[in-house]
Symmetry: C2
Subunit: 133 residues, 2 copies
């Protein structure tokens, strides 16, 4: 199977004086069925979250407020950086990409995952991740 | 089929100094498969959103920040009110309940829907909604 790459999506967005509505639909806008939804709130300024990879799980993350600086790294050492600063942007994170997210400006993260939670799907040891070269 | 009722859920939440993680899993935590995810951002203070019902679509809404006052009304005139002020709370809105949401304190709404967008599923005429008594 071809190794998947990270990808930045731009979702549908309706800007109105009553507030801004963004939305996505499964399979039409993201490449998997959503099995788990999570949100990170009240994250301290300049906190780094993530710092793990998934063996098979896919994710799309959205920054609903503030700014999230994301650095993704695959097992060959390829590094890709993204600035999520608009709620209409979503970042697709394939399996086997190590992700670190820096939270700025009262950032709030929405995450959509392809699988239910399973600790076994996590790789939390960076040297083991890189050791798989 | 028995008419479904609104319901307040309390999701899993991990409170940490690095920020708070809340999450839900399909069918385990909410009674439908998520086909559409939407979010309302930069909603003006004291703005009312919603003001419609769905013919068949089911929703769960979450207030990620601030406070959302929700008033739901069914076609028999039953009214139920909820204050969403914590990101671990989710409100289940069944089909055929008219919903109004008042946004306070920089409120931010996350919505999960059972169906892809279809204008035909919306009832936007309140008198027609009540006229179906």
């Amino acid at each position: 199977m071809k190794q998947k790459r990270p990808e930045l999506y731009e979702f549908n967005c309706r800007l109105e004086t009553r507030g801004n509505l963004s939305f996505l639909e499964e399979l039409k806008d993201i490449p998997f069925e959503v099995k788990r939804v999570y949100w990170l709130t009240q994250v301290p300024e300049l906190q780094v979250r993530g710092d793990h990879a998934h063996k098979t799980g896919q994710q799309v993350i959205v920054c609903l407020q503030g700014v999230i600086e994301v650095v993704l790294e695959d097992q060959t050492g390829t590094v890709m950086s993204y600035t999520l600063d608009n709620p209409k942007l979503g970042l697709y994170i394939p399996p086997l990409w190590w992700g670190k997210m820096l939270f700025k400006g009262k950032a709030l993260l929405l995450g959509l995952a392809s699988d239910e939670f399973s600790e076994e799907d996590y790789i939390r040891d960076k040297s083991a991740f890189n050791g798989n070269l």
